[in-house]
Every structure is written in structure tokens, then in C-alpha cells.
């Protein structure tokens, strides 16, 4: 592990859904990017969704960075300079957030549920813990309503895309393709960092430039090796695989997306019992 690390929290298991409705609004970038050798003229949507079950905080001299591991998707709707309307997405299994980005996100104006510390819906991000069983029935009803209005209806497409991606057989195959981390670390700001496995022609589609992100770099392996031991990396891989297994299995009522939380929680409980 690198000597640059001053402090590390260890891998903390927490299962939650994090949605960043507008990635570029959070980072404050104006760069729209390129797609298929054309200039992106307008980004209609650039959402990031992560269903994560592991997180870790690492403090370096330059500041603290937060790693989030799980199943994620960077979903885009944008327009090219020639007027073509494009839908694109990039699978993610990690999110790296710098402390200043986190602090900016965590101090954004809350939209609803201002008295709840677990479920957060603010102008820049949404956090939904999978397990809401500790809440009272009244609280649960209230949270359900707020989530339906503010998350499951406006971001239905993003959530369904993540589920759809999770159900694909070859998706989130961390053993084959390694890591895909969306980074806001100041040294890799607004980049997707991928493993060296992407250097092969087989995965050439993924590394093509897309809207929003500055570029895609083969730095994920190097970065993770700096911060995590091989044992920890094995745990991360296992957790991603187990989450993929759950998502591939769950059947969600698309008209009642709240069932997603219930189904995943039920699956997680089954796993716990088995292990």
C-alpha cells in the first residue's frame, strides 16, 4: 500500500442507492465532450446511479477521498452538433469522490425529508438506504411517498437501465474486465478510470469518448493498488459479484419501484442467513 495514505477507514459495508441526477452540475464542469468524433452540443441528462455495498475513506496529504463500490451506471441523454439525439451509458463498479465534491454535495439544499438523516434527497444527490426496516410504519409510509414522488418517478429510466444492465449475463464481470471507476479526485477529475483489461480490442466500445466525462484512462488498477491490499481488492470483487448476483435475480415491479428496495433487502437477508 502506498505511503501517501495518512489514514484509511477500512472497507465499511453499507448497502444503499446513490443517485447523482446531474454529474456535471455536481462537478460544475462546462465541458460537454465528444461522441463518435462529433461535438456534443447539449447534455439533457447525465445521471450517475450506484447500488453500493462497500465504502471506504482514504486520507492523503491532499485531502480525503471516498470510494464507493457496487453496481453503477453513468446514463446519458445528449445531442450532437448535427442534431442527432443520443442515449448512451457506461457501466461503473466504483465511484471515487474527493472531499471537496462530497462536502459540496452534502451541503446542497434539501428538497424533502429534511428531518431524516438516513434518506437524503437534496438538489445534487439522493441517498436511499436499502434497509428501512428500522423506521416506524408512519415514517416508512412518509418516506415511500417522498421517494415515489422525487426519485422513482423522475429517475425511473435510470433505475430501470441499471437493473437491465445488472441482468445482462456479461455485465459487471469484475474478474474479466476489472474496475470502472468514475472519479472526481482532483488529479483525475471527471474521468472514468478503467483497468488494463480494457486495452484489448474486445472492450473497445467502452473506452470510446462519451458526453460529460473528460476522458477514460487506464489507471484504475494502479490507483486501487496504491490504496488497497490484494486481500481488500478480493473483498471488493466479491462484494461486486454478490451484488450483481442479487440484481440479476430480483424481479421488480416497474410500476412500483419501491419494491426494488424490498426485494434487494430480502435477497440480502437470504444471503446473510446462508453465509
Amino acid at each position: 500500500m502506498s505511503g501517501l495514505v495518512l489514514k484509511k477507514s477500512g472497507l465499511v459495508p453499507t448497502t444503499k442507492i446513490l443517485i447523482i441526477p446531474r454529474w456535471n452540475d455536481l462537478l460544475g464542469t462546462t465541458f460537454k465532450g465528444f461522441y463518435a468524433n462529433r461535438i456534443v452540443s447539449k447534455i439533457h441528462l447525465d445521471s450517475v446511479i450506484m447500488l453500493s455495498n462497500l465504502e471506504c475513506a482514504i486520507t492523503e496529504k491532499t485531502g480525503t477521498s471516498y470510494f464507493l463500490f457496487g453496481l453503477g451506471l453513468y446514463f446519458l441523454k445528449f445531442e450532437l452538433d448535427n442534431g442527432s439525439y443520443i442515449l448512451d451509458q457506461r457501466e461503473l463498479n466504483g465511484l471515487l469522490m474527493a472531499d471537496f465534491v462530497y462536502d459540496y454535495m452534502a451541503t446542497a439544499k434539501q428538497i424533502t425529508l429534511t428531518n431524516d438523516d438516513d434518506v437524503i434527497i437534496n438538489e445534487l444527490a439522493i441517498k436511499i438506504p436499502i434497509d428501512l426496516s428500522k423506521k416506524t410504519e408512519t415514517q416508512q409510509t412518509f418516506i415511500k411517498g417522498a421517494l415515489m414522488r422525487n426519485v422513482f418517478i423522475p429517475y425511473k429510466e435510470v433505475i430501470l437501465r441499471l437493473l437491465e444492465q445488472g441482468k445482462k449475463q456479461d455485465s459487471y464481470s469484475v474478474d474479466q474486465t476489472g474496475y470502472k471507476i468514475l472519479s472526481s479526485h482532483p488529479n483525475n477529475f471527471n474521468r472514468i478510470l478503467v483497468s488494463d483489461a480494457f486495452k484489448t480490442v474486445k472492450h473497445s466500445d467502452y473506452i470510446q469518448p462519451t458526453a460529460g466525462v473528460s476522458n477514460i484512462q487506464f489507471l484504475a488498477d494502479k490507483l486501487l493498488e496504491e490504496f488497497f491490499s490484494s486481500q481488500e481488492l478480493q473483498i471488493i470483487k466479491q462484494s461486486i459479484k454478490s451484488l450483481k448476483g442479487i440484481v440479476a435475480k430480483v424481479k421488480v415491479d416497474t410500476n412500483y419501484l419501491f419494491s426494488l428496495l424490498e426485494m434487494i433487502r430480502a435477497e440480502l437477508q437470504v444471503k446473510e442467513v446462508i453465509t
Binding site: 460544475g28 462536502d103 489507471l219
Partner: protein
């Protein structure tokens, strides 16, 4: 539960701090502050209270009290600035402060019967503590950063001024095609190389030894600073469990990472000029191609427009009495290779003769036009094939005009 901060604890101790009372000293004359008295510990006439929490210490002794606070400041500059602030407040005299007790950063002091009322002192202390709890160091650091940038800019300007003057040269001509074609390149911030190149020459050689790469440095504007200062005071929502440790900290957006202004509207579309607009901007002129690039083969000209030199020949005089014969004469003239300018005179002459003889004609104006056209031609040249055929066609039309029927009938009658 979180531990209490020194400021929060100090606020809680304020009630006890203001429990000083009037004392009658049996040992010293005058109104001496019990807290500074060397016989304080042995004195039995005064009430003493001591509460020491490590970073906060309260000492009440008879007619005076001291409340000392120690802040765990991380960097020297913060310590330095705190000392400066405390010194300035101390000098102002209207604040209940004294020189900080050893091992503490700030010491409040009060004595019974002071000119400044206890209520005023209480408000002053609360305000000072509130100010310090709002992390003034973030604002201070931002101002310092701003000042550093300004100093560097000033230095840059001074250095540039002293550099030897550079003579300007005209910019090289840019090909028209290059103005439009690589528009995308101008914006290619990342401009990732093609896949093949990346595979052939992966990040193992090109990237820096560390994954940390520098980002372009830009200074955030005042609006951004204000927004960060505002946000630094807002309690953080807890998105990550691992971020709980930093709940009371706020990381400033680094100046090296540019972010758009708050409320700044990014143009929704990139203005791409239409072809006509682009042409206007570039200018209507077509790029000049140097003569040397034009292939110099045989000079090509369509045969019908080929210019031919006129033949020198003497002409028979033009008939004057018969307009039809005049037209025939002119027709023969056009068929020959006679000089155009001289031909123009003969057309004018013929028109005048016809005008004298005939009362009504419909071709005289056309004759005049042809005469004008012929007069403008280059000297010593005869008609080209195209013009000759045109004029002959017109003369043939004139000759077939219905006016000749009446003309010939009249002539016959006269004869």
C-alpha cells in the same frame, strides 16, 4: 454522541463565569482582583471555583473570574491569525479579555464592579465565541489564496514588461479547408488517441509515474468564494458512513479545479455557423491561387468565340436607293472577315439610308444596337463565329419581315 467542542463548553460555563461578587479584602488595601492575588489559595474570605476540562478552564475567585480556552488549531497560520485577533481585541479594552493564560489561546476576564456591565460583557463573549465557531479560517485562507494569486499576477506582469520587445510578424495564411475542418480539435480537451495507438502505446509509457496529474490552474471568482463560505457553515448531510469523521470540516473547492459560477448558464448549444454565415465571416473572396500553380498548357478557347484578325479589303459602295439591297449588302459584309469597327459605321450608314426611304420599319433599333456592339470591339478584329451567326440570323429575320410585301407592291406600282 459527539464530544463537546471547547467553544460549546465555554458557552455552558458562562453562567458560572459571571458569579463574581463584591469582596472586602482584609490583607490588601484597594480593589485588587482576587484572581491575580498571590494569597488567593490561602485566603478564606473568598469563594473559589475551578473547572478544568483540559481545553477549557474556568476559575472564579471572589471578585474576579477567568475563562481560558484552547483551540486545537491545525496549522501555524491559523494559530498566528488567532493570536492576532486576540491581541487586537485585548487592545480595544472594551472587551473582557486579558493576556491568554499559559497553555491556552484565549482568556476571558471579568471583575465585579467594572465599568462595562456584565450584560455587555456576556454579549461580547458570546459574539466572539460565535465568530470563532463559524470557522473563520476558511475565509481567511481563501483571502490569502486570492492575495497570493494577485501577487503572482503582478509579478508576471512586471516580468513581462521587462522582457525585450518582440516584433510582430504577419500570421501565416491558413487554408480555407483548415478553418472549418478540425473544429472539434479546438475543443479536444481530452482528445484521446485512437484505440490502436492506445493499445500499442498504453499508459505504461506515457502517463506520469504517479496517477496524480496536474489540472489546469484557475482561480475561482468571488461569487464562488462567497458560496463556499456560506456552505461551510451549513451542517452536512450524511451520505457516507465513512464521512462522519469529517462532519465538522469543510473542504474548500481547490482553485486548481475549475468550476462554473453558481447560477451560470452554460449555453445549451454550441453555435455552429451555417455555411453562408461562415462564408461571410471568412469573406466572400475566394482564396487566390498563385499563378505558378496554374498548369500552363495551350490556351484554350471555344472555336465559336475565337478572335480572328480582320482582312484588309476594299468594299463596293453601299446601295442607297433600295433598303432590301442595303440589307443584302450588310449581310454580305457580315459574312466577310471585315473589321468590326468599320462594319459599325456601315451599319449606321445603312440604317440612315433605310430610314430615309421607308416610312415604317421594325428593325432599325436592332441595327443601331448591332452598330454599337461592333463599335466597342477591339480594333483590327473581325466577328467571331458566334456573333456572326447571331447577326446573320437577325438580318435574315429583318428580310423576312411582312413590311417588305407592301414595300415591293408600292415599288411595282411606281414603276
Amino acid at each position: 454522541m459527539n464530544e463537546m467542542t471547547p467553544i460549546e463548553r465555554a458557552k455552558l460555563l458562562l453562567d458560572k463565569f459571571f458569579t463574581t461578587r463584591s469582596t472586602t479584602c482584609i490583607q490588601f488595601v484597594g480593589e485588587r482582583a482576587c484572581i491575580t492575588c498571590e494569597k488567593r489559595d490561602s485566603c478564606k474570605t473568598i469563594e473559589k471555583k475551578l473547572e478544568d476540562y483540559g481545553n477549557v478552564k474556568l476559575l472564579v475567585a471572589g471578585n474576579s473570574a477567568m475563562l481560558s480556552i484552547s483551540f486545537s488549531l491545525k496549522i501555524d497560520i491559523e494559530q498566528f491569525m488567532l493570536e492576532k485577533i486576540v491581541n487586537s481585541l485585548e487592545r480595544a479594552q472594551e472587551y473582557p479579555l486579558m493576556k491568554a493564560e499559559e497553555g491556552f489561546d484565549l482568556t476571558f476576564y471579568t471583575k465585579y464592579g467594572q465599568a462595562v456591565s456584565q450584560e455587555q460583557q456576556f454579549i461580547a463573549i458570546t459574539k466572539i465565541l460565535d465568530f470563532l465557531s463559524e470557522s473563520p479560517w476558511i475565509e481567511m485562507k481563501m483571502l490569502i489564496n486570492k492575495w497570493i494569486t494577485e501577487v503572482i499576477e503582478k509579478l508576471n506582469v512586471q516580468i513581462r514588461r521587462d522582457l525585450p520587445k518582440v516584433t510582430l510578424t504577419t500570421a501565416p495564411k491558413v487554408e480555407r479547408s483548415k478553418i472549418f475542418a478540425p473544429k472539434s480539435e479546438a475543443l479536444t480537451e481530452p482528445s484521446s488517441p485512437p484505440l490502436k495507438e492506445r493499445i500499442a502505446e498504453p499508459t505504461t509509457t506515457s502517463p506520469p509515474p504517479d496517477f496524480r496529474e496536474p489540472v489546469t490552474k484557475t482561480e475561482p471568482s468571488d461569487v464562488i468564494y462567497q458560496e463556499f463560505i456560506r456552505r461551510a457553515k451549513i451542517p452536512k448531510q450524511s451520505f457516507f458512513l465513512t464521512a462522519e469523521e469529517r462532519k465538522n470540516e469543510f473542504a474548500i473547492w481547490p482553485p486548481s479545479v475549475k468550476r462554473k459560477e453558481f447560477g451560470e448558464r452554460v449555453p445549451s448549444t454550441i453555435e455552429i455557423p451555417s455555411v453562408t454565415e461562415a462564408t461571410k465571416k471568412v469573406g466572400p473572396e475566394k482564396p487566390t491561387i498563385p499563378e505558378s500553380y496554374i498548369p500552363k498548357g495551350e490556351k484554350f478557347e471555344l472555336r465559336i468565340f475565337e478572335k480572328k484578325p480582320a482582312e484588309e479589303r476594299t468594299l463596293s459602295p453601299m446601295p442607297t436607293d433600295d433598303p432590301f439591297k442595303i440589307l443584302n449588302y450588310l449581310e454580305q459584309l457580315v459574312k466577310s472577315n471585315y473589321e468590326m469597327r468599320k462594319m459599325a459605321d456601315l451599319f449606321d450608314e445603312g440604317r440612315e439610308e433605310i430610314e430615309k426611304t421607308m416610312f415604317y420599319t421594325d428593325f432599325l433599333s436592332e441595327m443601331s444596337k448591332i452598330a454599337d456592339m461592333l463599335r466597342k470591339a477591339d480594333p483590327e478584329l473581325t466577328l467571331n463565329k458566334f456573333n456572326r451567326e447571331n447577326i446573320l440570323k437577325k438580318i435574315s429575320n429583318w428580310k423576312s419581315s411582312p413590311i417588305w410585301k407592301s414595300f415591293f407592291r408600292k415599288k411595282k406600282e411606281e414603276e
